[in-house]
């Protein structure tokens, strides 16, 4: 059985992976970007009464979406780092608290968390809408980020901390100067993905009457009945933002991985 024509597969036999250095390649990213920008310019020019009016209606919504995203990501990074460290802690109680937090948050849908913080807890604490959105999003994403941080830190060979400790570094210094700078390279790509996912998930906060991109679009559509035009523009605006963001993140990744280049 083992001997009947086993075909050897060479690495070179598969489909050629696009070489990231090859500038001549037309990438999917460029096609998407040019298409999006092209449509965002062409549609309003062609039909200023519908597409054009949507575009002029939503800019303050874009600002709100950015505000919610940036605040949430900043807070989620802090929560994520603490959770990741907590999950690796040798202290039983810290470990338990961090693990419990991850289990609970991962088990409740984000939409439910949003409702919970805004309407359920709203009976006791009067949290303003944007703050409720930021708390819910960072609370949710903090748990996911915690897992990313944990995996990143664990990916660094134990010999590194042993070496650092033997040089007289204490635990915190080892983490701060030896482990985290290296782990960051493993952590950044998944954190970047979480970042983009979070930006897209901010559209959920429109349910709390936060005037983000989606809410502004829905307000316009409910008055004008131009549903097709409105949601086309909304989708294109989100796409443009995430395309630019993903490019920035992949550039950062490349810079951080310059050690690995040969």
């Amino acid at each position: 059985m083992a001997e009947c024509d086993v075909k050897k597969i060479d690495v070179g036999d598969g489909a050629a992976l696009p070489d990231p250095e090859d500038k001549g390649l037309v990438s999917a990213w460029w096609i998407a970007l040019i298409g999006t920008i092209g449509l965002l310019i062409a549609l309003p020019v062609k039909d200023p009464d519908t597409y054009g009016r949507v575009l002029t209606f939503i800019p303050d919504g874009i600002l709100v979406t950015f505000e919610v995203t940036i605040l949430s990501i900043a807070l989620a990074l802090v929560i994520g780092l603490l959770t990741g460290l907590g999950r690796l802690s040798k202290n039983r109680y810290i470990n338990l608290i961090a693990s419990l937090y991850v289990e609970v948050v991962r088990g409740v849908p984000l939409l439910v968390q949003l409702f919970y913080i805004y309407f359920a807890l709203g009976r006791f604490v009067r949290v303003p809408d944007i703050m409720a959105a930021v708390i819910a999003l960072s609370f949710c994403y903090g748990a996911y980020m915690g897992e990313v941080f944990r995996a990143g830190i664990k990916s660094i060979d134990f010999g590194q901390s042993e070496a650092a400790l033997s040089q007289g570094f204490n635990q915190a210094q080892t983490m701060r100067y030896v482990i985290l700078p290296q782990a960051w390279r493993t952590i950044l790509p998944p954190v970047g993905n979480e970042f983009i996912a979070l930006l897209k998930d901010t559209s959920l906060v429109s349910i709390l009457a936060v005037s983000d991109i989606l809410r502004r679009g829905r307000e316009y559509a409910s008055e004008s009945f131009n549903y097709f035009e409105t949601y086309t523009i909304i989708a294109l605006v989100y796409l443009l933002i995430t395309l630019v963001l993903s490019k920035i993140l992949s550039n950062m990744e490349q810079r951080l991985s310059h050690y690995e280049k040969r």
Binding site: R126, I207, A209, E219, A221, S222, F225, Y227
Partner: protein
């Protein structure tokens, strides 16, 4: 092939069905608008307009079927032909009449301003710089947007706006007066009150919209409205659901 067979069968079934049964009219309703249309404790869609249409159907021979639909997008569904009409306290406005045909009016409505019990605001003019909430795409929300200086805030459901007013995150809510009365006098009677009724140059009426040009359904609904009004059933229903 199978698709074709199934289609034929369905078409046959529909044709046979309409041959001897009375006409079924599917109405979409956003059942979050008590006492006009809402979901009761037994998960049934009930309310003034539900009873109104059921009575109308009995009078002129159609069977209304109610389909719970989110308000935001309810008109898009009508345009796409997902249902025949809407019974969701739809006020007849010029903007809406451009996109769909309306039945005769079946209810007069005014916009009411609801505030917290201890608030001194009497109208939208007293609420400059404050947040005022309404349901997205309703005439109440349009009234807020038209008022100068207030910050409009749109909610998916009026109940969420009322809850936000109840906990004090917004200063007031504007909606149809029967709904306002339901929330301010029953559900939140300890915390909210109706401050005033917003004056308007034109009276506002509810109607049942249909797709532009759908004369068959429209005529049937209009006949039903006429019969219900002629028999005074609408007055009984007002007593039952609104109490006036």
């Amino acid at each position: 092939m199978l698709k074709k067979a199934v289609l034929t069968l369905v078409t046959l079934a529909v044709m046979c069905g309409s041959a001897w049964a009375e006409k079924t009219i599917i109405f979409a309703t956003d059942a979050t608008w008590p006492p006009m249309e809402f979901v009761d404790a037994h998960k049934n869609i009930v309310g003034y307009s539900i009873d109104f249409l059921t009575a109308a159907g009995k009078e002129v021979g159609f069977k209304p079927v109610f389909k719970n639909t989110a308000w935001d997008g309810i008109f898009a569904g009508l345009a796409a032909g997902k249902y025949d009409s809407i019974t969701s306290s739809v006020s007849i406005t010029e903007e809406r009449q451009k996109k769909m045909d309306f039945s005769e009016p079946y209810f007069v409505v005014q916009q009411a301003l609801i505030v917290q019990k201890d608030s001194k605001a009497m109208g939208l003019a007293d609420l400059k710089g404050k947040k005022v909430g309404g349901q997205i795409g309703t005439t109440g929300y349009f009234a807020i947007k038209a008022a100068e200086g207030v910050e409009p805030k749109s909610y998916d459901e009026i109940g969420l706006a009322m809850e936000d007013l109840n906990v004090g995150r917004i200063a007031a809510v504007v909606c149809d007066d029967p709904v306002a009365a339901n929330y301010a006098l029953i559900k939140y009677k300890d915390t909210l009150k109706i401050a005033s009724v917003i004056k308007s140059d034109k009276p506002e009426y509810y109607g049942f919209p249909v797709q532009k040009g759908n004369k068959e359904i429209l005529d049937l609904i209009n006949k039903g409205i006429e019969a219900v009004k002629a028999k005074g059933i609408d007055q009984e229903l007002k007593k039952k659901w609104i109490g006036q």
